[in-house]
């Protein structure tokens, strides 16, 4: 029996009390709360759109893990590179890609960030150095190492953030990538989103050694775990790892312990987890956790929350409308970009 997480507070649709006065404090914690909520509402809408057959194929949601994308992306500069996985909506939104670009992609429309060709698992954005999701578990790791090799050889001080799950730790490619990165002191940070399950296989049934940070350290790189359900802890860990990698001392590994409140994907009956465990992790939901902290500090009011929810709802509705109205790629372009287009004759 899965239930989606209740919104932080039962948002009543009261009218904004003081129009025009913008008294919201611009603290980063406030921004992070808004960013996390934005990811959650977006993905809740994706569930609806999938049920209504507007989104097809596979859909992997990160509801419950929002602290990680928001925390990690905040530690990166625009010039750093990001390599993600198929559970990438949060990473993409936190990296700055628009809801319209994501929904257009999942609707298979030309307005999508990959022109409708990639779908939920293959979001790309060259301008933001977002080198895409990858549907092959572990497939992105060697590529991230290569990107870092290029940064080092070109003498930039950019860093490559490589995000992946605990499942990828069992792939040969993790072993090869970690060893290469450490051997050549490459500026890559391995962010392992350990949500305790590789699809239907729990951590203890997929790894002989479940202390993933310990395993990563054996490759000769700095590695430590962090609380993936606390966005402030994630930001802190991410900043330290990125600075270390940027210093040139070599790669880092951060095991972000987290939990997904919904199934592996829309296609998964989620019978391998018992409800009590899910409920127990719900109590550590990163969004209400930060909300209470800001409310206690007196920097967050009911109005603020209402405004955040209203803004996000408008943004989502606009993106859905945009995606529905957007054209599909003409079939005639099917073979474009199989290989590069020949240089135009003058």
């Amino acid at each position: 029996m899965t239930t989606t997480a209740k919104p932080a507070k039962n948002a009543t649709t009261t009218h904004r009390s003081r129009p025009g006065v913008d008294r919201r404090p611009r603290t980063t914690e406030f921004e992070m709360l808004r960013d996390m909520t934005r990811i959650r509402r977006f993905e809740e809408r994706c569930v609806e759109l999938y049920s209504a057959t507007k989104i097809r194929g596979f859909l992997h949601l990160c509801i419950g893990e929002e602290a990680i994308p928001v925390g990690v992306m905040r530690a990166l500069t625009d010039d750093d590179a990001v390599v993600s996985t198929y559970r990438e909506h949060g990473h993409a939104l936190a990296r700055g890609m628009t809801m319209g670009a994501l929904l257009g992609e999942m609707f298979g429309k030309q307005s999508g960030c990959s022109g409708g060709r990639g779908g939920s698992m293959h979001l790309f954005d060259a301008a933001r150095r977002f080198y895409g999701g990858n549907a092959i578990v572990g497939g992105g790791l060697p590529v991230a190492v290569g990107l870092a090799l290029a940064e080092k050889m070109r003498g930039t001080n950019n860093v490559v953030a490589c995000l992946f799950g605990d499942g990828a730790m069992a792939e040969g490619e993790f072993h090869e990538s970690a060893n290469l990165a450490a051997l050549w002191h490459l500026p890559v940070v391995f962010f392992c989103e350990n949500n305790l399950y590789a699809m239907g296989t729990s951590l203890a049934r997929e790894h002989a050694q479940t202390d993933l940070a310990l395993r990563a350290a054996s490759y000769g790189m700095v590695a430590w775990p962090a609380d993936g359900m606390d966005v402030l802890a994630v930001v802190d860990a991410a900043r330290r790892a990125v600075e270390l990698a940027r210093s040139g001392s070599g790669p880092c590994f951060v095991e972000l312990r987290t939990y997904r409140f919904r199934a592996h994907s829309m296609y998964d009956p989620d019978r391998y987890r018992d409800k009590a465990e899910i409920e127990q992790w719900r109590h550590r939901d990163p969004i209400p956790a930060l909300t209470e902290k800001l409310r206690a500090a007196g920097v967050l009011s009911d109005d603020d929350l209402t405004e955040i929810e209203a803004e996000i709802l408008t943004e989502i509705d606009k993106a859905v409308a945009e995606a529905e109205a957007a054209p599909e790629e003409p079939v005639g372009d099917l073979t474009r970009f199989v290989t590069s287009e020949p240089r135009r004759e003058q």
């Binding site: 590179a81 990959s114 022109g115 409708g116 060709r117 990639g118 293959h122 790309f124 954005d125 060259a126 080198y131 895409g132 990858n134 549907a135 092959i136 497939g139 790791l141 060697p142 590529v143 991230a144 190492v145 290569g146 990107l147 870092a148 090799l149 290029a150 940064e151 050889m153 070109r154 040969g172 490619e173 072993h175 090869e176 990538s177 060893n179 290469l180 051997l183 050549w184 474009r336 970009f337 199989v338 290989t339 590069s340």
Partner: protein, 334 residues
Amino acid sequence: MTAQATAQVELTYREAMREAMREAMTRDERVFLMGEDVGRYGGCFAVSMGLLEEFGPERVRDTPLSESGFVGAGIGAALGGMRPIVEIMTVNFSLLALDQILNNAATLLHMSNGQFNVPLVIRMTTGAGRQLAAQHSHSLEGWYAHIPGLRILAPATIADARGMLWPALEDPDPVLIFEHGTLYNVSGPPPDPSISVDITSAAVRRAGRDVTIVTYGGTLSKALDAADELSAGGVEAEVIDLRVLRPLDDATLLESVTRTHRVVIVDEGWRSGSLSAEISARLVEHAFYDLDAPIERVCSAEVPMPYALHLEQAALPQQADVVAAVMRTVDSRA
């Protein structure tokens, strides 16, 4: 270490490829070589001998035995603005990197709707004939020629070994270069530097009017020898060296076949689902009314390559097989 004579009378295939890599790394600092034992050991087939001393460990990088790892890293470095040459020791080990080559290198540009190019060159040795037995004797370039998004080259001559690398590095898309293991020691006159080498078209290595022999890479010499033997018997065979296995140069093939009306395809891959099967199908599709005899294919026997010399030779396409096949097309009484 072969003596590096300055006024070179002859150049080996291996030296031609080494010269090509040296020239590329000198001309463009984005170019670097990465692979198992390419540096200190000088390359498993001594192709990169001396490059480490000349360009240093940053640009001639020995890698651990992690094909998926360093091929994926090559892809990432290409995405990151470099122009890597990744050497996979032999096509047999490339199977460990097939996922990276297919799902990342070949696919990224199309899947990202044109945002990400992968200007990567991967070199690997291929083919049998040196009694290395089943696991070290595969000829799988036909598999890779199946994948949209890749350009597949098979340099069979010294001129191509010397000339193909630079245009391959300039290609914004991934290019795989297959070097047949038996060619490294072949020597010949140094190629004329003024003649530019393309990576788009096939070459007619021998003109002829009675039959078209289509082949590539390691079997070109056998095809030419067969043509000479046939010529003595009054049959003039045209020998086409494909040079590029994807995209196939259909125009050159069709132009020849519509003149000779008989075709023999020589391919060291296994017959079923091989490159020769694809070429045969295209010719039937586009030159059906010009065929005066069934298309013949001379391929490896469909067996794991045996170690024993006499068995390996029996399994591989030979000159006599090519001659017999040609005679079947010229005179059906043969």
